[in-house]
Symmetry: C2
Subunit: 198 residues, 2 copies
């Protein structure tokens, strides 16, 4: 069986960089946003719509329009959500069959549980998260904007994870290793953690 590493992460904790660098260091495949594109292909929905479905709570997707039956909206909505999640499961399993790989997000720890993945969760204190976001801030956001974005995105990730897995996102019980990246250089951290796999 291939070695599968799944990475859950708080926004701004450096989890994506950690996953990418770890895959690079180990010579594993790395999957993150590529999966959205694959789901879009498989379901014939637009990438931006798939992104919305996989990152937000279902009830936020469909505003109720006057004159439209709520039951109809719910049925259509549910079918799409199920379709997208099924496509996601199939894609993740296909990739896990192919080679050793690192998955970031996408409930991969839950979807791939039969592949006995090593489940990592990356987190850090708020100060470090704000610092990391500032470094890559292309939109001239204020510190307060960044703080709000971190809170909002993590809340959405938590709801998404809990909706599909029934487990609490970020709860250490659901992971094998939880790694705190506060005041830590991710490149250096990966060079140390990669030793575990060698």
């Amino acid at each position: 069986m291939n070695q599968i590493i799944t990475i859950g992460r708080e926004f701004g904790s450096g989890g994506r960089e950690f996953g990418r660098r770890l895959a690079e260091e180990l010579g594993y495949e790395y999957y993150d946003k590529e999966i959205i594109a694959e789901i879009a292909k498989k379901t014939e929905l637009s990438e931006s719509y798939v992104q919305q479905i996989v990152e937000r709570q279902p009830h936020r997707l469909f505003p109720i329009t006057v004159g439209q039956s709520l039951a109809y909206v719910n049925k259509y909505q549910n079918d799409l959500i199920v379709k997208v999640f099924n496509a996601q499961c199939e894609i993740l399993k296909d990739l896990a069959e192919k080679s050793n790989c690192v998955f970031v997000g996408r409930c991969a720890d839950y979807i791939l549980k039969d592949y006995k993945p090593l489940k990592i969760f990356i987190y850090s204190d708020l100060k470090s998260k704000i610092e990391r976001c500032k470094e890559r801030n292309n939109d001239n956001l204020t510190e307060d904007d960044i703080r709000k974005a971190i809170k909002r995105i993590d809340k959405e990730r938590a709801k998404y994870y809990e909706f599909y897995t029934g487990h609490k996102w970020g709860d250490k019980e659901n992971y094998d290793f939880c790694i705190n990246t506060s005041n830590t250089d991710i490149k250096l951290l990966v060079s140390v953690i990669a030793k575990i796999f060698k």
Copy 2:
């Protein structure tokens, strides 16, 4: 500065074995119950009484006796608690100055924060904890007895930690690495984790 590793652990998670083996593997000093004996020497209290103070909530130490002043009891009790905790802090810092070392429990992560310890928390699911306790069960306890003991001891550890540090015991924010030992052989785990330090 010496390399200090502190280990917090759930009862039955194999945290003590993890700490002992890690120290052995790295050639570091290992401190656990020895600290109680040192505190007893320093404070001239009995080891069993020190054990009680460092593992239980202060209010459980002194039953209120008829005819005895509550204020007097509280004053005496508080002085002892402060004395024991101060002794513990001094002993931990003296040991941290001497050599690289691994500390299990004793709020060492908090007391030694100026020494920038690597803070590890060891946990596992209830099933694995019960299994581990059964293996070393010398008292013919039933599974239900073991389950109750795990719950009680972890509750006491949590209260002790929170009383002295003001932080939530087992909350991943307080540690650098949290390691899940469910269904894991501790010896094998240590041989892998030790690579991080080499």
